[in-house]
């Protein structure tokens, strides 16, 4: 059967069942590693936030890239400002930039 499975190049139900069994086994092993005397209480599963109430799944937990790199972009704002302006979101503009860059590269390569 294994040889048949190896030869199968497309989706096969037996492959799916095998994957399910392996994943189930891994999950069961991790479950058995847990402390059997665990007792559910009011706050036990909450994340530790210095004793404060967990904000749940709200956006208050989300830290974006701008929260980390604001100093970087601010220090190089003379460089980033024209770049942000050039990103219009219009595909035609991006194609113009692409064609212009290719043209410059071809001209340079012709004379080098």
């Amino acid at each position: 059967m294994i040889n048949q499975l190896v030869l199968v190049r497309e989706w096969h139900p037996l492959v799916l069942i095998l994957i399910g069994l392996i994943v189930g086994l891994v999950v069961y092993v991790i479950y058995r590693l847990g402390n059997p005397s665990f007792k559910e209480t009011r706050y036990k599963r909450e994340p530790f936030l210095s004793g404060n109430v967990s904000p749940g799944e709200s956006k208050a937990l989300h830290i974006g890239g701008s929260n980390l790199y604001w100093g970087f972009t601010r220090a190089l704002k003379k460089y980033f400002k024209p770049l942000v302006g050039a990103h219009t979101g219009i595909v035609n503009d991006y194609l113009y930039w692409f064609i212009i860059t290719i043209a410059i590269v071809m001209v340079v390569l012709y004379f080098v």
């Binding site: 402390n35 665990f38 007792k39 706050y43 909450e46 530790f48 210095s50 004793g51």
Partner: protein
């Protein structure tokens, strides 16, 4: 209650200020200074109750910290020991009639919580180290009882 084998090596301690004047907190910090250096024995102050075996509570519990104290207590994995550091944590001390006081720590925690009282105002570092030793003995005894 199942005791982890890691108790053979070290006890990790998490410190909670439930309304202290900071005197006991300073004495706790002095236990990890070179003079006392409890880290020699594997006793370490950790940054989250998820890693802790022992909870140190300093100061009386005030109304603003009551929920936080209970939350941190429950978030600490079992088995655990609570060390009540200083007279205020044990009896509310000089703040006994303050409008902001919820009560001493032992009136808030569940009945099955194992408490070790370390008295003093503020406590001496030697006394805190002795309290951690008592916590260690209790947890070792717990494992012995389980065979």
């Amino acid at each position: 209650m199942k005791l982890s084998k890691t108790f053979d090596k070290s006890l990790w301690v998490f410190h909670v200020n439930s309304g202290s004047c900071n005197a006991c907190d300073i004495e706790i910090v002095s236990t990890v200074t070179p003079r006392y250096d409890v880290e020699r024995f594997g006793i370490e102050l950790v940054g989250t109750p998820r890693h802790a075996d022992v909870l140190l509570f300093t100061g009386p519990v005030i109304k603003k910290t009551k929920e936080r104290v209970l939350r941190i207590y429950e978030q600490t994995p079992d088995p655990k020991v609570v060390m009540v550091i200083g007279n205020c944590a044990g009896t509310t001390g000089v703040y006994y009639d303050s409008y902001a006081i919820e009560g001493p720590i032992d009136t808030l925690l569940p009945d099955d919580a194992h408490l070790i009282y370390v008295t003093g105002c503020p406590v001496r570092p030697e006394n805190i180290i002795n309290g951690v030793k008592e916590a260690w003995l209790y947890l070792e005894k717990l494992r012995g009882d389980q065979g």
